[in-house]
Symmetry: C2
């Protein structure tokens, strides 16, 4: 468990057993001038420890020793630097997820909540053309797909 090393706040935290991923993210942030702080590492490692999309509040609950505002700030930073992506549920609830690639889309399972990347799909081109047909120049979009994953569809 990544979060098992989180004990108390303020001083001399042992660093969470570091996933190469956390160090790498921290150093990428350092390249952009962001400081390497304990709370920030905690947010990153807790995010990395989630197996599926998670909410900001879940992360707050998992990190009682980190302030709420800090968790939100950390997530926002990770999204801005494309290290985490945002996922929108059908009820407009927002979740987050470590992203392994650039821009992409997700399938979300309505039962177990697992997500899968929607790969090898040229939806964007299709959209851009449809937009052009309506006289629009496309600059962005929201796209989320919901359904049942293989396991939940046929258990």
């Amino acid at each position: 468990m990544l979060t098992s090393d989180i004990r108390h706040k303020g001083h001399d935290h042992p660093r969470p057993r570091s996933l190469a991923a956390v160090d790498e993210i921290v150093s990428r942030l350092a390249d952009r001038g962001y400081r390497d702080t304990e709370p920030r590492r905690l947010v990153i490692s807790a995010a990395a420890a989630q197996g599926r999309p998670f909410t900001a509040e879940e992360l707050c609950a998992a990190l009682p020793c980190v302030g709420r505002a800090t968790v939100y700030r950390g997530l926002r930073l990770l999204v801005e630097t494309d290290l985490v992506c945002r996922v929108l549920l059908e009820d407009r609830e927002l979740k987050y997820q470590l992203s392994h690639q650039g821009h992409h889309h997700h399938m979300l399972c309505a039962v177990c909540g697992v997500s899968a990347d929607l790969a090898g799909c040229d939806v964007e081109d299709v959209l851009r053309e449809a937009a052009a047909a309506a006289g629009f120049r496309m600059s962005g979009h929201w796209l989320e797909v919901y359904g049942l994953c293989g396991k939940c569809a046929s258990p």
Copy 2:
């Protein structure tokens, strides 16, 4: 102005000069057992009077004589009966819009806020196939496209 007849609350409102559309919507609701009430007509006609996507709060402001909860309830009812559709902005703000057809998608102009239907577009099939390729059975989706409308792109 549709809302110009809204004067005070409680009794003997003159009906807003009725758009055939409002009467038709009211009667479609009646078919489903929903009553024809003054506040509900006001919500419907105010919604119908909007030229582009609007927020629930904008509608509340436009209808100071109708309670907030009633405006929200009215919108929810209209969405449930497919008479109004929900539109999601890039910042996750929710807007509404009278819908002229069944399920469809929108283009939204980032500058003037106008929306256009994304017609003749088989995105859904594309999505369903891509989902199937990932082992998912698609049951729903969110799709909104943002950009610039013809006017705002080349003024």
